[in-house]
Symmetry: C2
Subunit: 378 residues, 2 copies
């Protein structure tokens, strides 16, 4: 094998991890500086009081950046929580399903199912449609929402299955969306939703915080008592500081959103993300060793899932890629194959490099095959 | 005013903040390095998968350090959660009060009251004793726990009121303790408790994670269904990785616990903490301008609360102290006065410095007073 045929640097890591995922180098450098001495305050960002005016302004600035980048209307709240999307699965149901007729769920994969499971503890669940029949390789688009549904819940991007919703259901029920793995990657119309939630650890920042964007009117529709930390109204009424928030995660998210603004905001990054995913899907479709697992019309631009026609080659390709500094492309354990996550901070050059690695592997395999044929035929 | 009379460096910050609080400089430096390039992996600690063997070993190592430092018996679990003590207030009740006769609570201050408030959503609460009659300046020690109590809940250190429990109730009910602000500061006998919880942001690490140490038998006594993220058994059965954990907070906690081990562990730090608090209480008792607010027998070694006999001087002393780099000593807003938190990472030299600042302020005030008397008498 002639590794030097791959022209790009081989020591740098190309991080295709599904999350916690790659963050911009400049953000990491600023974050590291703040861990030692934040803004020349003589204190680390890890040891400042969350009640200090300096940190309160970080929270406010992060909220304003989110409002600007996603064009969040004033009638919506921007809240910071903990516990990831997994906590939202039950919290959504505690707030909006408890005491109501039913919650409608669109079943598009592993995380949608998790949301459904948690909701069942708090009330009746109606699954409006499911793509389980075809291994969650598509997004169902013809379904009815029950008229008594308190909300319709969907998952905008299915991280494990590699599908993404490019249009959202039109329904009279309030729409709740888990956007954990594609928020800030493309433009959305916040007004289409009553509540959006997302774990931070993809395109927003480090693990440990959760973003919630919710229509105030929807929050006000909740009338029953709830544990404070499970009550969206408590976060709203206390500027997300009812208790000690995840200070560092919020701070690094602020840095990362400032970086996103420099990239031309969500509109700018969407163009780059489109280019990255196009390039990789083209190679998957061209390269005779690989095939994509999601239906073309529903292919995610964030998490590209693919397999090899000969599954026995997969472990070898993983090792080959790892040898060239490509990390994080192993598919989810229940699905197998590969998953390349092309989050905002992943440069186009990393995708170009992965394509080269795939082409190189193809050549090597073809050579081995033709040599094998030659030997067999000789 | 002759500032140069204070001999210590005046540019460095002396951080007496109540939390998030001071962390050792060496820990901050290591954490900063890991944010840029973790263990020469070419990846930031913020962008590694929580399912990678490298990070799994961080979780394991952190658990083992906690077991070693607190001498945790094998029959207890060590779990990492999110949401701080505020989430534990309701989670404890969801798990152990729901469906049972009553939960017994010892009311020793602001956070005990918060725990009580959240518990009431899930069942009957019996307050076994309260020190509210004397502004929470002591720990009640004669009380009965109802025979049908599912547990007795107490708060080992009252961060706001500056009191600490130096002995724990002997009761047949399982004992649950909020140790957020004094865990790892002194030796405890874990066997005295059925469940201990603590927000990390004092002596453990950065905000964003919660430590739970629970007797397995106690966890097994829970038989009802719970939301996954509110179910201790789910954390136990998934090695605290049911979902993406707060990666960075866990990692920095590991670094900080390694530092603690180098300090002679909990026994070693306890001696240092004792010395620090003795020194400050001595000055509070000696200095005619100040007085301590907690009853001497119940004075916290972590959060030293004190006031001035002349409250109109307090704002001036705060400014004076801040001018010398002393930060974080303002008392909690509902209590007023001062609070100096002497967490593990605060060096003795910072306490010595604060004592000097107090003495200097005293001299200045005495001089002004005697000059005023002279002028008045002349």
């Amino acid at each position: 094998m002639q590794q030097n045929q791959i022209e790009m640097q081989v020591l740098k890591k190309h991080n295709f991890g599904a999350g916690p995922c790659i963050l911009p180098g400049s953000v990491l450098q600023q974050a590291a500086n703040a861990v030692v001495n934040w803004n020349d305050s003589g204190l680390s960002i890890l040891e400042v009081s969350h009640r200090s005016p300096e940190f309160e302004s970080v929270v406010l600035k992060t909220q304003l950046l989110i409002r600007e980048l996603l064009n969040v209307p004033q009638s919506y709240e921007v809240l910071f929580l903990q516990g990831g999307a997994s906590t939202q699965f039950s919290m959504v149901a505690m707030n909006f399903l408890q005491g109501r007729a039913c919650g409608a769920y669109l079943d598009t994969g592993y995380f949608a199912q998790k949301a459904i499971k948690e909701a069942k503890l708090f009330g009746k669940v109606a699954i409006v449609a499911s793509s389980e029949d075809k291994d969650y390789s598509y997004i169902p688009d013809h379904f009815e929402t029950p008229s008594d549904a308190a909300f319709l819940h969907c998952t905008s991007n299915n991280t494990i299955e590699g599908t993404e919703m490019f249009s959202f259901p039109e329904t009279s029920a309030p729409l709740i969306c888990d956007m954990s793995s594609d928020i800030f990657s493309r433009t959305i119309n916040v007004r289409d939703f009553d509540l959006i939630y997302a774990g931070a650890q993809k395109n927003m920042g480090p693990a440990g915080m959760t973003l919630v964007i919710a229509k105030n009117e929807f929050l006000n529709s909740v009338k029953h008592a709830l544990p404070s930390m499970s009550d969206y109204r408590v976060y709203r009424d206390n500027q997300s500081m009812f208790n000690t928030p995840p200070v560092f995660s919020i701070y690094v998210s602020m840095l990362n959103l400032l970086w996103l603004r420099e990239q031309g905001g969500v509109t700018g990054i969407q163009l780059k993300n489109h280019k990255k995913s196009e390039l990789l899907y083209e190679e998957i479709d061209r390269n005779p060793l690989f095939y994509g697992t999601a239906m073309p019309a529903h292919r995610s631009k964030m998490n590209i899932t693919f397999k090899m026609h000969d599954p026995s080659m997969e472990a070898e390709f993983l090792r080959f890629a790892a040898g060239h500094g490509v990390v994080g492309i192993k598919g989810y354990r229940t699905v197998g194959g590969f998953r390349a996550s092309l989050y905002n901070a992943l440069p186009l050059s990393s995708v170009e490099f992965l394509v080269q690695v795939m082409q190189h592997f193809e050549k090597e395999k073809t050579m081995v095959y033709s040599m094998g044929t030659q030997i067999a035929g000789s």
